[in-house]
Symmetry: C2
Amino acid sequence: MDRHSSAPHGVRDLVVVGGGIIGLAVAWRALEAGLSVTVLDPDPGDGSTHAAAGMLAPATEAEFTEDAALHLHLAGAARWLPFAADLEAAAGRGVGLRESGTLTLGYDETDVALLRRVLALHGRHGVASEELTIAEARRREPLLGQRVRGAAWVPGDHAVDPRAVHAALWRVVAAHSRGAVVPRAAVRLEQQDGRVVGAVDDTGDRHRAGSTVVAAGWASAPLLAEVPGVAVPVRPVKGLTLRLQADPELAPRHVVRGLVQGRPVYVVGREPATEGPWAGHCELVIGATSEENPDDRRAPAGGVFALLRDARALLPAIDEAALVEATPRARPSTPDNLPLVGATHVPGLHLATGHYRNGILLAPLTAEVVVAGLTRSWFAVDVATTDPPAVLAALRATDPRRFPPRAPDPRTPDGAPR
Amino acid sequence: MDRHSSAPHGVRDLVVVGGGIIGLAVAWRALEAGLSVTVLDPDPGDGSTHAAAGMLAPATEAEFTEDAALHLHLAGAARWLPFAADLEAAAGRGVGLRESGTLTLGYDETDVALLRRVLALHGRHGVASEELTIAEARRREPLLGQRVRGAAWVPGDHAVDPRAVHAALWRVVAAHSRGAVVPRAAVRLEQQDGRVVGAVDDTGDRHRAGSTVVAAGWASAPLLAEVPGVAVPVRPVKGLTLRLQADPELAPRHVVRGLVQGRPVYVVGREPATEGPWAGHCELVIGATSEENPDDRRAPAGGVFALLRDARALLPAIDEAALVEATPRARPSTPDNLPLVGATHVPGLHLATGHYRNGILLAPLTAEVVVAGLTRSWFAVDVATTDPPAVLAALRATDPRRFPPRAPDPRTPDGAPR
């Protein structure tokens, strides 16, 4: 389990609970910082990472967010290009980053009015975007549906393939001399003298570490329910994405998103696959529904129907693509729509969860912030943006300590049963 | 391969090419008639049997057929009850026969007008059916959509679970002392002195037999292309079905089918599962598209969309069910929409293919007719119907010899290259 560690025998510098894109990004950056790391996950990457489309879309998501979130998302997007380049070099494989820009559409007049509100928001925050005529939009994207009424071009919103990113992260973490990915579920955290000192897995094995990062998505909340001094108000919100395979001439050239009679929908296209059963075809990901439901991993037929209806309104050629997957997963949502990233009031316990719809976008920045907190090297967080104070304010806004911890149960001091 | 045979060493009485529901039904009835049987199929039951919903619907399918087909289908339906009882007893497992009757619906006024034409056809042929008021229909099926305009009740149209039937057939054929299911593809038929004397598989092994039944769906045509004296004009027509899992209170009580703005759609519900991951849930099968396409086994998104759209127009609660499978398979269609069942002009060669949308419905009758021809025991075909001459005419209408054989290629007598 502890193959190569700079820490005392049997004790790692870091245990990461959760091997999705957030947990593995934290683990990789921690390994690069010289730490020894064990990641615990019974099925790494099978949570919301598996469903995510991979839009890196701070601007076109702006409608749904507040200012703090917009600045955070812009900073997150800015980390992606260097992160992807580093990761591809380290893993020796691609991560499907496609700097295509995003075409954003309004289906009817009301949708176009909402689209213009988002463009005005971009203007106020210095985000590049421009309204297009339908003729201009059709030149960019010949597959555009005939009934689309309005369009805009957002050159800085790109996409990445989350499954390719995850596979690359797994490779670099599992292959590292100080890294391990253990296919076990953490069932509780190990506590000692008011510190978190690791995790216990479902076989009863203890994984002790100087620090513990909980990056278990919505499942972080039940895992931490028994730890006093920390509040983790994340809840599962189910999202559904569809995966299709299309002939390249029937695949959109850019990320296409839009409002269709008030309902948001997006279509992310990948480059043609070079191997596998769909070699020569382009994967399309259509998303995403949002349902306040348990993580039952069931794809409701009504959600499949609604995604296809709205996506084919924007891009009718979707009818010709093969539907190969409907993937429902629950994302971790928080009361203020901002994630929980960094140290808590509990010594040894750090969080990296609550990213809701932005887990892919924020994975590189989250990893940097968490590892800076672990190594106390804040200077490393060199936020590349035109507006550093706003970004620093946004990072402060993700501090897990903003939610007041539950009062300890007087019957069970330190969480230990009497 | 030839474990127990009444025929000379290494030679079976019968080789059946194709282990779908038709091939295995023929094999089982042949075993019961005392023959030794080898079935060749690389993936038995993974053809159109895998997609089929299992409607036993001679009456509600009548719109699509001509008189000969209607009589054939009524005779086919009449065979199902004894066949299912026999098979369940022999296999020791259920086949999901549900004698629920069918509620057939018209969504708009034009659909209702077409529905009434079918009811009039039933009247002319003595098939039981009755128009219902919407209130009556809703009492039978409380989940009915609000916008449905017309309804009828067809008490004799039931459904069966094709995958359960296939599993039961496989068990009784593979376990039989004179039976074998060999997981190999037949690549050509073995010919000798103008007779078909078996098949050669994809490893080059010869499977010799007194008689050969080709029950390979649309693939029967390419397999027989090199056999002179027989014409097999079947072509693949792709159909798509969807499988969903619903809570029992959201599953229809009967087979529900209808026309929605001219498009036919059906929903077949099963009894709640008693085991497996969906225990306590009811499988729903929605079907079916028809596309003149190759058997590429791709589920076009436009087909999935159209099936969901039309099914939820009849039964809106479908939105709440989980979509678990989209299953595209090609059925064997013929120029006159009747199957090819029985002996050919070529000694030793029998056919059981071309059933298009009626392979499940006609499997028991097809097996009886083929085995009667093999054993020359025509008296066994005791067609239970009010109109035997019409049924006998329908059976004659399925004679494979109705299509004139291609003239033998003068360059390759008997199919052997010079």
